[in-house]
């Protein structure tokens, strides 16, 4: 009775049903009912996903692809048909489990976190819409379906980031997130249109099995230039990647992600771990065989990822807002995933270990990052501010949270045997094996920075003396609904690397590639030790500055002491300001203003002129009709004379 197809439907329909029921019928009237519905249905969804995963990986069918169901959504011409379907392969099954599980945890957590909000029903509805959109995205069988859910992910994030719409900062953050990702999406859409035009299909199976060879000779007119179809495909691959560039908040389109912290913390948690930002990495992973044949697109991807990784890690070292530190750490980790995919290319050949490492990192990162955000939410709930200034000394008051956060922080720092070690180590290894030594060095450096800023956060929040009046007075407790998901998430944060390694190495390969694949790779067993060494060193430095008895914490947190480079980094290299200047001065004050002036003065002016001209013409004719007899006579005579002189006028 219950087969995989039924379970597949359940995975989707439960969040959708939650959205419909909570959004339309329960609403904000009955918060308890809304929460109960959300948790139950998301629980069913998570359970189904886990069952599907177990069934899939335990069957002999495992690493192959299958389409559980597929409907025709909108036919265009010939094979160009938009379909909605459910693709099952190791990558999508892994993502299904991650998304549903994280979403369940976040829903449970929200019961506690949103308890005092008056719009709980709306919150649970939107949260489920979010996970529904992400689920649709990960099981997409074709680019069109991916774009549909891609946009839905964008809009649900907009609604959730701006959930507290009476707060101007939240509203503007949500607007910024939506518009920046939308900007990237417009290129994505252009890429889809271009690639589907050349290939004649939206299906991943068709696009991934492509080889550029047959397209060399045909040309395509792109308006400004005529290029061969092979080059058009390369251009298309870069345009498609641009979609992921924006969604995964890679530099320089990263600014929306830290600002998106204005949303409620459960939202940040789900955005950063399972939905939304990993979509960009997922897109590249899904289309990897296509990117692999498309010339240098993977190299672009690698550099974009690597730069974002270092850039974000540097900023994270100076921030004071606990959620912003985590946001920059997400950016940095996304950089790892992205560059691991890009680093797979060596000349014309490809190594597949980077793909495996990257997807593995998506998996492990989801758990510890979700856990970290939920922990941050718990802290914020106690001290009512995001500022590390006000925390400190929470170790004794929140022991469970303390232990769980230690696990997650060790995981993200890449200390064995915690989960992050295994995936991050493989990414660094890939960079080395693929001979990208600069990126390899950057990755090692970033791994040190990661440990430093995470332990900085950890020491400032939990160690030292309490700096908050409420904490000093002892008004701190651990809420059950909020602590339970944190504890549950600590388990995969601890174990998912150890247990997942075998699974990923066995099943996770990017599919059939049309580029030569390197099988024999150089050994580098010293790399894990180097990585651990750097991490431990960074930990020691963090301890020295922020937790040792001699540490001057007040001085470190004091705004007065920021100067020079530190100040520039603290202000995030002034990217927010640059954006505002460009948008205000150039777009709204420039292009839009000129367009409106063109319309209001040139077009309306021409209109006014033609109206004036017609009036004048009327005046002219009217003066001729003045009833003055000699004038009539004169014109008559002149007319007759002209007629006589010029003779056979065709009148």
């Amino acid at each position: 009775m219950i087969n995989d197809v039924t379970l597949g439907y359940l995975i989707f329909l439960c969040p959708l049903l939650t959205f419909v029921i909570n959004g339309l019928f329960v609403g904000n009237r009955n918060a308890k009912a809304a929460a109960a519905i959300a948790v139950t249905l998301n629980g069913v969804s998570a359970l189904s996903a886990i069952l599907v995963a177990v069934h899939y990986f335990c069957s002999t069918f495992a690493p192959q692809k299958a389409v559980l169901f597929e409907y025709t959504f909108l036919p265009f011409i010939d094979d160009l048909v938009a379909r909605i379907g459910m693709l099952v392969d190791p990558l999508s099954v892994m993502m299904l489990v991650v998304v549903t599980f994280i979403s369940l945890m976040v829903n449970i957590y929200s019961i506690g976190y949103m308890r005092e909000d008056r719009a709980e029903g709306r919150f649970f509805a939107l949260l489920s819409l979010f996970s529904f959109s992400m689920l649709g995205l990960v099981v997409a069988t074709n680019l069109f379906q991916m774009f549909i859910f891609w946009e839905l992910v964008g809009v649900s994030s907009y609604l959730l980031i701006g959930f507290w719409y009476h707060k101007p900062s939240a509203v503007s953050a949500s607007k910024q997130a939506f518009i920046l990702t939308r900007f990237a999406d417009s290129f994505f859409l252009l890429g889809i249109v271009l690639v589907s035009y050349v290939v004649g299909s939206f299906d991943f199976s068709a696009i991934n099995s492509l080889s550029l060879y047959p397209f060399r000779t045909e040309t395509i007119d792109l308006g400004l230039c005529v290029i061969s179809k092979a080059n058009a495909l390369i251009l298309g691959s870069i345009l498609i990647f641009t979609g992921g560039w924006g969604k995964s908040a890679m530099f320089p389109m990263h600014i929306w992600l830290p600002n998106a912290m204005e949303g409620p913390t459960p939202v940040s948690s789900i955005i950063h771990s399972a939905t939304m930002v990993v979509a960009g990495v997922y897109l590249v992973a899904r289309l990897f065989p296509f990117f692999a044949v498309c010339g240098d697109s993977l190299t672009i991807i690698m550099w974009v990822g690597a730069f974002t990784m270092v850039f974000a890690a540097v900023i994270a070292c100076t921030q004071k807002d606990i959620k912003r530190i985590l946001a920059y750490s997400t950016l940095s980790q996304l950089g790892y995933m992205m560059f691991a995919l890009g680093a797979c290319k060596i000349g014309q050949a490809v190594v597949t270990t980077g793909w495996t490492a990257s997807t593995f990192h998506i998996f492990t990162h989801a758990f510890f990052k979700c856990s970290l955000f939920l922990i941050a939410g718990s802290l914020i709930h106690q001290v009512h501010t995001n500022d590390l200034d006000a925390m400190g000394g929470l170790r004794k008051k929140m022991p469970v949270t303390y232990v769980c956060s230690l696990i997650s922080i060790l995981a993200i720092s890449g200390i064995p045997p915690f989960s992050g070690f295994f995936s991050k180590d493989e990414i660094i290894l890939t960079a080395f094996q693929a001979h990208h030594y600069t990126v390899f060095a950057l990755a090692l450096l970033t791994s040190g920075l990661t440990t430093f800023y995470m332990f900085r956060l950890f020491f400032l929040a939990f160690h030292g003396e309490p700096r908050h009046e409420g904490v000093k007075a002892g008004h701190v407790h651990e809420d059950l609904a909020m602590t339970l998901p944190i504890v549950v998430l600590a388990v995969p944060a601890l174990l998912s690397g150890l247990l997942g390694k075998g699974l990923f190495e066995k099943f996770f390969t990017p599919g059939k590639l049309h580029a030569p694949v390197f099988v024999k790779l150089p050994e580098a067993s010293w790399i894990p030790f180097a990585a651990i060494g750097i991490a431990v060193l960074a930990l020691a430095i963090a301890w020295f500055f922020y937790a040792s008895p001699k540490a001057k914490i007040q001085r470190a947190l004091d705004a007065e002491n920021r100067s020079g480079l530190y100040k520039v980094v603290y202000n995030k290299f002034y990217f927010d300001e640059m954006y505002y200047t460009v948008v205000r001065q150039f777009i709204i004050g420039g292009v839009a203003r000129v367009s409106r002036a063109f319309n209001d003065y040139v077009i309306e002016g021409l209109l006014a002129f033609s109206v004036w001209f017609i009036h004048k013409l009327g005046d002219l004719v009217r003066t001729a009709q003045a009833g003055y007899l000699p004038f009539y006579l004169g014109t008559l005579i002149v007319g007759v004379l002209i007629w006589r002189f010029f003779g056979q006028l065709p009148l």
């Binding site: 160009l80 009476h166 589907s196 035009y197």
Partner: protein, 512 residues
């Protein structure tokens, strides 16, 4: 039976006006009840007939109507001395537009419940307007078509000048005179078509069987196309629409932007392109250049405006530009996208103007800088506006996305340089659309609530009903676009066949 019902679509509104004539203007309750009932009846009839047309897809149609596959075909001699007939019929394209009109008229009647001034005349004018729009979409005879087409601009003028707000005299005059200018261009080419056709008939089907001489087509096509494009506000004839919309009362804005502006695009497709396909092939790739203003600059202009109705008017201008992009693509997908956009945009702009009207009724201002935080006081209306905005920026799930993506894919199939450039620009300008829609929604609905708006109330049942129905239509098309695409495809097929069969003759001058 169904044929009679079909003919009743335009007769019922006219009868309603006649029925209301003897009633005193003070008995507004009864008047409104009668008008609402009649609008609902028409709506139900049209919905039923739409379903019938869908169900009949694939079955042989009336042979008299060949090459079009028309249902409910009626052909009665009318002005026999000049060969004009009363010819009406329905195919997938126009029955859907009729359905759209019925929905918007129904919504328009319901939202003008509290209109100030003589309500008896106002509702009568709405019904007359409805009659004329129904007539335009139904008729397949050019004289009949033109009569209805002219009637509509007249009703529009009266309603704006008498019931409008702001610069209503200026707006109404601008609108009517510009539309009359377009009509004069159409009229000239209609006579040309009649005499060049030489079959003593004004029927679109009859004329389509004649192959018109190239010299005639080369001047008649641009004239007629631009004449129709005036009412669809194609650059440079878009200037009437912002002033006209902002001066008009809510129901008129809904009807003008929702259905009347589609009449132009419909005329371009059904009359100009269908009857003069050779010239269409030559001229349309150049028309695309005009769209740079509509599609690319339109959203930017909307960004600079503060009046809600101006913003929506420029948004309509940009969305209507996409219709022309689809038409100019001259591919089956493009034409289908254009027709989808006509329908989709009708619903979404109807919803836009309806919510704006409701909000204006309460706040008494349309300036977004003066508003703020009204989402808290009017959650329902606010959500309605946001949903209209989402549909407008092409969010999947709503019909706008289906239409836009179809147009983009269709337009990209066209291999001409200019079309490619404009298509690329159009795709990239989806961001600008998002910017002005979100900016408007944020300024108006979010943020702190000004003191003076503490006493605002949310929509009443009647208003909620309008919003719910329009949103449901948008979602319905957006989630199940397959059937509507089928219907449109079958009715576009003969038009596209004619265009693709048109061999491009070698002539000197442009395009050759």
């Amino acid at each position: 039976m169904e044929t009679i019902l079909f003919n009743l679509i335009w007769i019922i509104p006219l009868l309603t006006v006649l029925v209301c004539v003897p009633l005193s203007a003070t008995r507004t309750g009864i008047l409104k009840a009668i008008h609402a009932t009649s609008a609902t009846i028409v709506l139900l009839i049209v919905c039923f007939l739409t379903y019938r047309v869908y169900a009949l897809t694939g079955e042989p149609a009336n042979e008299l109507a060949a090459p079009l596959a028309l249902r409910f075909f009626t052909d009665i001699p009318w002005l026999s001395m000049m060969g004009a007939h009363y010819t009406v019929g329905a195919d997938g394209l126009n029955i859907l537009l009729l359905a759209l009109t019925a929905f918007i008229v129904w919504g328009g009647v319901l939202v003008s419940w509290n209109i100030k001034g003589n309500q008896k005349v106002f509702f009568a004018l709405i019904q007359l307007l409805a009659t004329s729009v129904y007539g335009v979409y139904m008729s397949f005879d050019l004289v009949l078509f033109f009569v209805f087409y002219e009637m509509e601009a007249l009703c529009m003028y009266l309603m704006i000048a008498c019931y409008g707000s702001g610069r209503r005299d200026y707006g109404g005059k601008k609108l009517t005179l510009t539309l009359a200018f377009g009509s004069s261009m159409i009229l000239a080419t209609l006579f040309g078509l009649y005499f060049e056709g030489g079959v003593n008939s004004w029927s679109i089907m009859e004329l389509s069987k004649v192959s018109l001489p190239m010299e005639f087509q080369m001047w008649a096509f641009p004239l007629m196309f631009m004449g129709f494009a005036v009412s669809s506000s194609l650059f440079p004839f878009h200037f009437w629409s912002p002033d006209g919309h902002s001066a008009a009362p809510t129901a008129v804005s809904m009807l003008a932007a929702g259905v009347m502006m589609k009449m132009g695009a419909y005329g371009c497709l059904r009359v100009a392109m269908f009857l003069m396909p050779e010239a269409a092939k030559i001229w349309l790739p150049y028309v695309v250049a005009l769209l740079i203003f509509n599609v690319v600059l339109g959203p930017f202009i909307a960004l600079r405006h503060k009046d809600l109705k101006y913003i929506t008017a420029y948004s309509s201008i940009s969305h209507l530009g996409l219709i022309f992009l689809g038409l100019a693509a001259l591919t089956p997908v493009g034409l289908r996208g254009a027709s989808l956009q006509m329908i989709s945009h009708g619903f979404l702009t109807g919803l836009f103007f309806a919510t704006i009207g409701m909000i204006y009724e309460r706040t008494h201002t349309r300036d977004i800088t003066e508003m703020g935080g009204i989402m808290r006081k009017m959650p329902f209306l606010g959500v309605g506006f946001v949903l209209a905005g989402f549909a407008g920026l092409g969010l999947p799930g709503f019909s706008g996305f289906i239409a836009e993506s179809t147009i983009f894919i269709g337009a990209f199939q066209q291999d001409s340089t200019l079309t490619r450039i404009v298509t690329v620009l159009a795709i990239l300008s989806i961001t600008t659309t998002a910017v002005y829609i979100l900016q408007t929604a944020n300024r108006m609905l979010h943020g702190p609530l000004p003191k003076k708006y503490e006493g605002l109330t949310d929509g009443c049942f009647r208003e909620k009903l309008v919003i719910v129905v329009l949103v449901a239509c948008l979602l319905f098309i957006g989630i199940c676009p397959g059937w509507i695409a089928d219907m449109l495809d079958t009715s576009i097929a003969p038009i596209f066949e004619k265009i693709s069969a048109a061999t491009q003759p070698v002539i000197s001058g442009i395009g050759g």
